[in-house]
Symmetry: C2
Subunit: 344 residues, 2 copies
């Protein structure tokens, strides 16, 4: 009596309005694509709310919607970005990411083959990080009411008792980053604008939870961490400056940046500190724990180029300053306007 078994064509099929209508077509899409790719015991509960095990730890929750354009870019796609991005928001807070929800908003006519690629890479990304996609939602809107697909991921993580993040930075602390700045921003922009010289640059999208666990084990005194996504390094530093009434002094020469990224920035008049990163973490660390921290970071695949990029300094006014490569200090300001829309 219940006929939900008709097979969707993942090769030539497209999304139509019925896939969001709460009827048989939606059930087919869920069963034949989402459940197959994301399969786990939680998702198989198949209720609107998913029951999760008791936890005796403090919890962390993070949410992000992803609207990146193009959907597929060198180094990744919107799906992988959506999984890694929310994992990273939890990880930089000191949490161990455990569960993700996923909300899709799909455009009528969207190719099922593309959706399958996106969903498959989400499943792979979640698996790599030991995270379960436990519940989801799919909406379909008419052609031109959304640009392809937008994805929300919301995550829950657990915090071990010994984690004391976040703490205010102290004068004398060092600022660390795990590698090259600006790759994701330039990868998207080069792909979008057809800049051939920069097409070798791939997005740095990656889940940082493994690296961060090693960092916290080696340097439990880390004051605070952030992933410099939208708004780049400058946004993270300025937010901290405001939040903690602190002054940071960055050292331009110490900020790891690929040559092609620097060239792209010069050509387009962009500041590399405003560019989004999707696999980077900035940490503020007491100077006495810097050595063990750098050594575990450099031993990790995602931290080979870990560098000290600045100091917490004693100034009257909070803010972000930088010693430039040619000497002299300048103010590192927030991005103004929107140099790179829909970067994540």
């Amino acid at each position: 009596m219940i006929k939900t078994s008709a097979k969707l064509s993942m090769v030539n099929g497209t999304i139509d309005m019925s896939h969001g209508a709460g009827g048989r077509a939606m059930t087919q899409l869920i069963q034949q694509l989402f459940l197959q790719c994301f399969d786990n015991t939680y998702l198989r509960q198949a209720n609107d709310g998913v029951l999760l095990p008791r936890s005796n730890k403090r919890l962390m929750m993070a949410t992000d919607s992803y609207v990146v354009s193009p959907l597929f870019f060198p180094g990744g796609n919107i799906g992988e970005l959506a999984v890694n991005g929310t994992i990273n928001d939890l990880a930089v807070g000191g949490a161990v990411p455990k569960y993700l929800s996923v909300g899709f908003i799909l455009e009528e006519g969207f190719p099922l083959s593309d959706l399958k690629k996106i969903v498959t890479s989400m499943a792979d990304a979640a698996k790599r990080s030991g995270v379960f996609i436990v519940t989801g939602d799919t909406k379909v809107v008419e052609k031109n009411s959304v640009d392809g697909v937008f994805i929300n991921t919301t995550g829950i993580g657990e915090l071990d008792d010994e984690v004391t993040l976040p703490q205010a930075p102290q004068v004398g602390d060092k600022i660390i980053i795990n590698g090259d700045v600006g790759d994701h921003g330039v990868a998207i922009l080069a792909h979008r604008e057809n800049l051939s010289f920069a097409t070798t640059i791939a997005s740095d999208t990656a889940a940082l939870s493994g690296l961060i666990a090693a960092m916290l084990a080696a340097a439990p005194g880390i004051r605070c961490m952030r992933d410099p996504t939208r708004g780049g390094v400058s946004a993270v530093m300025n937010e901290w400056a405001e939040q903690y009434h602190t002054c940071f002094l960055l050292n331009e020469a110490a900020i790891p940046t690929k040559m092609a990224v620097q060239s792209a920035c010069e050509l387009m008049g962009l500041d590399v500190l405003h560019l989004a990163n999707e696999g980077k973490v900035i940490a503020v660390c007491p100077h006495e724990q810097i050595e063990p921290l750098l050594s575990v970071m450099r031993a990790h695949p995602l931290g080979k180029k870990a560098s000290i990029i600045g100091d917490v300094v004693d100034e009257v006014h909070p803010g972000v300053l930088m010693t430039s490569c040619v000497g002299g200090r300048r103010l590192v300001d927030w991005v103004s306007g929107e140099p790179l829309p829909r970067i994540c």
Copy 2:
């Protein structure tokens, strides 16, 4: 040094791309609108992930994206719907809703005055239900890349130990609903299609957590509950039939429906059981607990018209049957196609 104090105009202002760029404009929007309206100690942590207190209970997580069109409709708007909807997804699972995340995707040019109305009603809805909006995210996309505003809400709830939901329905159990069917669907459709005869119908959007707490206290044996949103009563019943290999027999004459809703359905060739509801709960309850259940429901403002609408019956094949008003039985099928796109 940090200039985030310029005042946004909530009267004539509009969203521009910079409000999603991770810079100063985004910080202004967050501080002057979201933080002001949603204000609570969690949100004030102002980190990407929010730290939540330890809980020794089982947790429930639910997510939903809202794309309803129009954004403002009789009885509510997209914001209220987004808060109530996710609260309800948790409540029908037996959880006490605690925390919500909110993800906005905004169209360039969207009026700040409309956004403020939406955000204000979200704050009110959360407050009414004792739920905290603890973290959020805002993306802005170019004009015509999204239709106005889409909202994702994801919720976390706690389950008391004595809650045993969901259990399989048993032959002899009764099916209960708390009131009139189809109001939300007709409210949206009438507004969209300018059907004057049905303009008195308002959406039933409401948070069901209070009613459901009373229901579980009076009838702890309730087997399972669902809110019949997209796909309506027919989707809930068919999903259960499939999930539990059960047969349900509904009684058409017993299903509470407003006259104007019935007329609208007849005019448009719609089945009221396919229409979305946003303040209704269907419960399957052992017959011996029906009396206390109905009496607490009818004493609650959201359950005045609580009714028994059918039975779990002993048939060979799982499915959903209905005794019609004129006698005879018919099959209650899933909605097919998309009679009511973007209903939630």
